[in-house]
């Protein structure tokens, strides 16, 4: 029983990282209708950017902005130099998936070519272990959870209460109509990719912290979890992605404690496949 409850703690940490990643992913889909499968690649480049500083003796928390910045800049470049031009050419959604996978290869193996094939880890203290009943988490893990909650509240505020958020929702609902209403959709899209890219960078950083060691291709499986969370909540639905992240994070870790940890990601896979075949608009989504 205590193993089960302890797994809820780990589930919350995974969910926290997953929420950062999934909300970014789903925002990109919302405004540009592109499934950015290179998301995991950007995450890992951001994680390595922080590592490059950390390796030279900079504290990882001070290096964190580097990861966020790289994630944001790289995402904007990815959209403006790759996805948007291809989209304008009338590239089919299938070809777009292949483009995104090609970008994944470039990002991940480019990183590997620079950083080498061996896994690395940040030089950092995990902090003291805090006990809450059977749940035992390190200070770092608690910080990740707290950080994620704060970011989710900020995202909520942005979408709900700002002009930019309103413009983002309008662009997501109908880009042409939004443009005709005087919204500068190109700018809205760029800003959205900047923000979602920052989330992606933060997700890469926290992912690397939480997993201890990481390599250039470590996010391949994690991308499956992101997709599962996004499709569970409905692609393009930020609140759906938050809910999806919570469910997937808990489901994978709790199932790891009940079954065998080798197969924990299979739960996410089954959920994703079920959502894709039965209800691709997600639990909260209405858009097809």
């Amino acid at each position: 029983m205590s193993v089960f409850i302890a797994s809820i703690g780990f589930g919350l940490v995974t969910a926290a990282v997953l929420a950062l990643a999934s909300v970014g992913f789903t925002l990109q889909f919302a405004v540009t209708n592109v499934l950015n499968l290179a998301y995991g690649g950007v995450m890992i480049v951001a994680a390595y950017a922080a590592y490059a500083l950390n390796e030279r003796g900079v504290n990882i928390w001070i290096s964190a902005p580097a990861a966020i910045l790289i994630g944001a800049v790289l995402s904007v470049l990815l959209n403006n130099l790759i996805y948007t031009p291809f989209g304008r050419r009338g590239t089919t959604p299938i070809a777009m998936v292949i483009v995104a996978l090609g970008m994944t290869l470039i990002l991940e193996f480019g990183t590997q070519a620079l950083a080498g094939p061996t896994n690395v880890s940040y030089i950092m203290s995990q902090g003291a272990t805090v006990k809450l009943g059977s749940i035992e988490l390190t200070v770092v893990q608690l910080v990740i959870i707290g950080l994620s909650i704060v970011v989710m509240i900020l995202v909520h505020g942005l979408i709900r209460y700002t002009r930019l958020g309103k413009a983002m929702r309008a662009t997501a609902a109908n880009r042409n109509l939004a443009r005709n209403c005087g919204i500068r959709t190109d700018r809205v899209i760029t800003v959205t990719w900047l923000i979602s890219g920052a989330l992606c960078g933060l997700a890469g950083l926290t992912f690397a912290m939480n997993s201890g060691t990481f390599g250039a291709t470590s996010t391949d499986i994690f991308l499956v979890l992101i997709l599962a969370a996004v499709f569970l909540g409905g692609p393009g639905e930020p609140y759906g992605a938050m809910l999806g992240a919570l469910i997937i994070g808990l489901a994978t870790e709790v199932s790891a404690s009940i079954i065998v940890s080798d197969y924990k990601d299979v739960v996410a896979f089954v959920i994703l496949l079920a959502m894709l075949t039965i209800r691709p608009t997600g639990l909260l989504g209405a858009r097809a």
Partner: protein, 628 residues
């Protein structure tokens, strides 16, 4: 060095086989199976486990299922069969109507998860370590290490690839292949023309899966080992890249792509000496280069190096007897009567000089029809209390209509009245929420669209729905029912089986083109035509199916008024010949001239019905139209 060359030869063969499978499945059938690599992996595992002895024999250092120690051809056969069988559950996912990229992701993730499962579940195929010491074919009779054996294996691999090429080409160039390409271009329309899309997709998956399985079997017999590292998701990307770069829908392009991408960039570079101090640099850069290659090609040459060939059937048969204009009356084709003396081949819209004459005749004909309805006034198609809801909104709310044989019935109504929805439900493109549809006295409410089409209930679409990458002539040919070569078996039996019939069908299709004045465009891609021409192609295609009832969804929209008038004349003539036509149209003048009776829909209900002149006098009809 010899080993290096023979290895490349085997890889070239194996990759060509796999790419041909993918080319058939994706390039021709349009089925995006991003889990393609699973089939190659399954073939390799099964071939390995079939040729290996029981896993206790080698001291049990590896564990796996099967272990039947079968002699040479059986592991390859097993690999092919398992590849095909594995495709069946996949058909359930791909058969679903979901966004193309969503389905692609589902299958990609499936590939990742299969890999994870095989890696972690050791008893199946020895987990992460994989199978090793897989026996080479015929290693009892030959020494697999010898140069001769190596060369022999390379040549066999190439020969198997060539045989695969002949096989997929035979399918692709048959009427069955034409149906597959039609499905690729637009599956909803293919469905409405009587193609069983689900069965076409399933067979595409099975054929591609079997070919991929075979490629795995050939590979594992040579490299003698197979582990999860060999079939990561990235390998699927490589194969897709190869087929796209080579040329989608062109099997020679697929083979070229196989040589260019997996062989040249993945395998040939494997032997570049490692950079001192960074042994992983070359393999990592190799993946970067493949990624760049994909982007560069999709940007600069998305159609590939060898684009899909345009099949110029009309040109090919033009020089042969029986193809000259004027000879089509005697063509022994199903449509001979239709193109015969009753109507005569009548060019539409092209010969401007005849227009005035046509118009006067037209008015007379329409009037005559209105005054004296055809003798056969029995009901051929009927719907009762038809309802369709979209997320709680009732787009169609209890519509009952009856269509009489040989009549040109019109349906009008303001935007959002539910006209197109009714038509789609009649044709079966859209399931009805409730209500009943009777066709030729049978209840067809639950029948899928393609079955209704085969019974003679064919529709056209409001939006352009030509098969873009089929020529105009091919578009017409697709619609003809009961073609001898339009099945997997028929395709395999070859041109000898279906060639003669094909010739007749081309004759009748050309007669149809002649009648509508589009013979000169027979070999053009339908996607390259103007809007009006595409509408004509669609109507001609529907007519090729020789429907008992033709459902037209705004056939005149966007068509030049004069051409629209000529189309109307052709439709009237068809009705005189016994075809029943139901036409949704916005243009009231067309209704005035050609349609009787006319149904008026508003807010999902039938507002009124009757002759157009009478309807124009009714106040509620005018109001609905003007206000709505």
């Amino acid at each position: 060095m010899v080993y290096y060359i023979t290895t490349l030869l085997v890889y070239a063969g194996v990759d060509a086989i796999a790419c041909l499978g993918l080319s058939q499945q994706f390039g021709v059938g349009g089925v995006t199976n991003f889990g393609f690599i699973i089939f190659q992996a399954a073939g390799a595992y099964v071939a390995g486990a079939l040729s290996l002895p029981s896993d206790h024999v080698d001291g049990g250092f590896q564990s796996y299922i099967l272990g039947w120690h079968l002699p040479f051809p059986f592991p390859w056969i097993g690999a092919t069969v398992v590849g095909g069988l594995l495709a069946i559950p996949f058909a359930l996912i791909v058969g679903k109507r979901i966004r193309g990229d969503f389905a692609a992701i589902g299958l990609l993730v499936t590939a990742v998860m299969f890999n994870l499962l095989v890696t972690n579940y050791v008893p199946l195929f020895n987990g992460a370590a994989g199978l090793s010491l897989v026996p080479s074919p015929l290693q009892g009779s030959f020494n697999p290490q010898s140069t001769g054996y190596q060369w022999g294996y390379g040549i066999v691999a190439i020969l198997v690839a060539f045989a695969t090429y002949l096989f997929v080409t035979r399918i692709t160039e048959s009427p069955y292949g034409r149906s597959l390409r039609a499905m690729r271009d637009n599956d909803t329309v293919a469905d409405s023309l009587g193609k069983n899309v689900r069965s076409l997709r399933t067979s595409s998956l099975i054929i591609g899966g079997a070919i991929a399985g075979l490629s795995g079997g050939v590979l594992v017999g040579f490299i003698n080992l197979w582990d999860p590292q060999a079939w990561g998701y990235a390998e699927t990307v490589v194969l897709f890249a190869a087929v796209i770069i080579g040329g989608l829908g062109n099997h020679r392009g697929a083979m070229l792509g196989a040589v260019l991408v997996p062989v040249a960039f993945e395998e040939a570079t494997r032997y570049i000496p490692p950079v001192p101090g960074n042994p992983n640099l070359i393999p990592a850069l190799q993946w970067v280069v493949i990624g760049l290659l994909i982007l560069v090609f999709l940007w600069f040459r998305p159609q590939g190096i060898l684009p899909e060939r345009r099949r110029k059937l009309a040109t090919r048969f033009a020089s042969e007897p029986g193809m000259q204009p004027g000879a089509m009356d005697s063509a022994p084709a199903p449509l001979a009567d239709f193109a015969g003396p009753v109507t005569g081949p009548k060019p539409v819209g092209v010969t401007e000089t005849e227009v005035t004459e046509t118009e006067t005749v037209g008015v007379g004909a329409a009037d005559g029809q209105a005054d004296a309805p055809p003798a056969t006034s029995d009901v051929i198609l009927e719907c009762r209390d038809l309802v369709r809801e979209f997320d709680g909104v009732r787009a169609v709310d209890g519509v009952s209509m009856a269509f009489q044989r040989g009549r040109l019935t019109g349906i009008i109504g303001p935007n959002g009245a539910g006209k197109s929805t009714v038509l789609a439900m009649l044709a079966g493109t859209l399931p009805s929420t409730s209500g009943q549809i009777l066709f030729k006295g049978e209840d067809v409410t639950r029948l899928p669209a393609f079955r209704r089409a085969r019974m003679g209930l064919v529709r056209t679409f409001q939006l352009a729905s030509e098969f873009k990458r089929l020529t105009v002539l091919e578009n017409l040919l697709t619609a003809i029912p009961d073609q001898e070569g339009d099945s997997f078996v028929g395709a395999l039996r070859g041109r000898r089986r279906w060639g003669a019939q094909e010739r007749e069908l081309i004759d009748s299709a050309q007669a149809m083109l002649e009648r509508f004045g589009l013979l000169g465009l027979a070999d053009r891609y339908a996607g390259d035509l103007s809007g009006g021409q595409r509408r004509l192609v669609e109507i001609m295609r529907a007519l090729m199916a020789q429907p008992a009832v033709l459902l037209l969804d705004e056939p005149m929209a966007g068509v030049h008024p004069r051409l629209a008038h000529d189309i109307g004349m052709q439709l009237v003539r068809l009705c005189e010949e016994g075809t029943t036509i139901v036409m949704v149209e916005h243009e009231l003048s067309i209704m005035d001239e050609f349609c009787d009776p006319v149904y008026v829909l508003a807010d999902g209900r039938v507002l009124a019905q009757g002759a157009m002149a009478a309807l124009r006098a009714k106040e509620e009809v005018v109001e609905a139209y003007l206000v709505g």
